[in-house]
């Protein structure tokens, strides 16, 4: 008991300023990484201010001002002493858990905060690229004279030319002739039926049921290949889905009609736009009434009771 004095090395008094100093350093570095002078400047100010405060704290004893430190009070814990009081005469040890519990909680809390700061952006990078910046370039399929009237043409094209062949898509395109468009004041405009080739059962490549006119194949400069085909129906080789010439399901497991694509006529050329899902088509060709829905993955219902299972699909949120 006599030499306990040796166990008390000189330590500076407790100080909160290092925390602010550390935040300042972190902000300064963050600003340098992000090349943001504002963040760097704020960090630098914090570093200087808290650095000075810290230095004042640490050197206080040297400068002769000894701070008054209040005696640490310890709340008596609410839990009663253990019932197994073998020696009731001995004074019960003071339950002094509040400080260690505080340190425990702050360690866990700060650890969780650091973990979240590191994890959240990484999780974002894991997930978000699959849902953002997916703009597929409009595919230019060449002059509309490439498309004979009332005949399907198998068009393959690159949806994202910079991605290469992996983005090659196929659509079945039928020219329905010039029709009056009431939306543009009854002007005569070319009408197309454009069926996207992916089966809406599970995404296999649907094939036209008819002979391909290989002699009439056209290859354009931008990787587009056009092959006329004599087909009035489309079948899927994977699970036997069958569609008619408007893309309506005739047989098999598909859950909706074939997807379609928006199209534009630009300077006499047919340009394909984004895909959309189709519930059902009534009528044919230019007179078809198309129940249009936001695009969703094959296999997901867009109408009827089953559509309640897919209340929000990605294409409704992004785009």
């Amino acid at each position: 008991m006599s030499d306990t004095g040796h166990d008390n090395p000189h330590v500076p008094g407790p100080s909160l300023w290092p925390i602010g100093f550390a935040i300042g350093i972190a902000l300064l570095l963050l600003g340098l990484v992000l090349s943001s002078w504002i963040i760097s400047a704020v960090g630098l100010v914090l570093v200087i201010v808290f650095g000075i405060l810290w230095a004042r704290d640490v050197t206080r004893e040297v400068r002769g001002e000894v701070p008054e430190i209040e005696p640490e009070t310890r709340a008596v814990a609410e839990e009663p002493a253990p019932p197994t009081a073998a020696a009731p005469a001995a004074p019960a040890p003071l339950p002094t858990y509040s400080r260690s519990r505080f340190l425990e909680a702050t360690t866990i809390g700060i650890g969780a905060a650091i973990g979240a700061i590191v994890t959240v952006p990484v999780l974002g990078f894991t997930v978000l690229p699959s849902f953002t910046n997916l703009d597929e370039t409009d595919a230019d399929l060449g002059p509309i004279e490439n498309f004979p009237k009332d005949t399907f043409v198998i068009a393959t094209y690159l949806a994202q030319p910079e991605q290469g062949e992996v983005s090659r898509r196929t659509s079945f395109i039928r020219y329905n002739g010039l029709v009056e468009n009431p939306a543009s004041g009854g002007r005569l405009e070319p009408s197309f039926t454009i069926l996207y080739s992916r089966c809406v059962h599970l995404g296999c490549p649907v094939q036209p049921n008819g002979p391909i006119d290989e002699q009439a194949t056209k290859e354009l400069d931008n990787g587009v290949v056009l092959r006329p085909v004599l087909a009035q129906s489309f079948g899927c080789p994977c699970h036997g889905g069958l569609y008619n010439s408007e893309g309506n399901r005739q047989a098999g497991p598909p859950v909706r009609s074939m997807d379609r694509q928006e199209y534009y006529i630009r300077e006499g050329r047919l340009v394909l736009g984004p895909n959309f899902a189709v519930g059902n088509v009534s009528g044919t060709g230019a007179d078809a009434k198309i129940a249009r829905y936001p695009w969703s993955q094959p296999g997901t219902h867009v109408d009827g009771v089953e559509a309640w299972l897919y209340p929000i699909v990605p294409s409704q949120v992004i785009d």
Binding site: S130, Q163, V166, L202, S296
Partner: protein, 268 residues
């Protein structure tokens, strides 16, 4: 003679036993190894109880051959200018046709995948039929179920990597099967495809899942699973005269067993 023997003993002491003491004093590794390997098993354990270690062996074969294949495989959907085929498929052809014994290691990995999944099911069937999932081995069963799921996911993600027509379209169907799950299905499918359809980003993503994420998960789960088997022991078959489980212990105050109540030592 006695002198020679004692001399040999002292050599053994110096070369083997003392170093093992030294290591064990610091790590408990020797005692741990004995705890892990030198266990009592029921007298009527038979071949059926070896399915678990057979599955583990199949996984180790997959891990080793997979690491070697990763040295030559390239997960890129770009068209190789020389072969005119995608880089991933070209690298698979290179492994199979050009590299010495590449056909063998790729074949081991390709067929070993099926062996692994088949053994998983046989092992699960054995545990189910023997009732070996009952108290106190419920968590062994649960970790085993997670291993079954991650093992199947390994098969699913590995199937895309050859990047041929079969791989591509089978994966399209698999992704769209996921899309039909209610509510989050379309989101999961778009994450797996890395876009509306499979894009060039999907192949390296699946490669990363296949060779980093899922094997890591499987290895972690195997450690838990094997620890539980070691701790709880092998169960005897249902027809055995030996007892397979143990009696449930007498009731204690809540938390006493885990050593969370003051005055209780915890444990068995």
């Amino acid at each position: 003679m006695a002198k020679a023997k004692s001399r040999r003993h002292s050599v053994v002491d110096t070369v083997v036993l003392q170093p093992l003491d030294w290591v064990d004093e610091r790590t408990a590794a020797v005692r741990g190894t004995k705890w892990f390997l030198f266990r009592n098993v029921p007298r009527d354990s038979a071949w059926a109880q070896t399915l678990g270690s057979a599955t583990l062996t199949a996984f180790i074969v997959q891990a080793v051959t997979g690491v070697i294949l990763a040295m030559y495989y390239e997960p890129s959907s770009r068209i190789d200018p020389v072969s005119g085929k995608p880089v991933a498929y070209t690298s698979i052809e290179h492994i199979t046709n050009d590299l010495t014994l590449g056909w063998l290691v790729r074949g081991m990995h390709r067929w070993g995948a099926s062996v692994f999944v088949i053994l998983l099911f046989l092992h699960m069937g054995r545990v189910f039929l023997y009732g070996a999932y009952k108290y106190p081995r419920e968590l062994s069963w649960l970790t085993g179920v997670l291993l079954l799921v991650t093992g199947m996911l390994l098969g699913f993600t590995g199937y895309l990597l050859p990047w041929d027509q079969t791989a591509y379209w089978a994966t399209v169907v698999g992704i769209n099967l996921n899309a039909t799950a209610p509510f989050l299905g379309p989101w999961l499918a778009q994450f797996l495809a890395s876009g509306y359809e499979i894009t060039g980003d999907a192949l390296p993503k699946w490669y990363s899942l296949h060779m980093l994420v899922l094997p890591g998960a499987v290895i972690g789960l195997i450690f838990v699973h094997v620890y539980l088997v070691t701790r709880l022991g092998v169960s005897s078959p249902p027809w055995s005269s030996e007892r397979a489980g143990r009696e449930r212990p007498a009731a204690q105050p809540a938390g006493a067993r885990a050593g969370l109540v003051r005055g209780s030592g915890g444990g068995d």
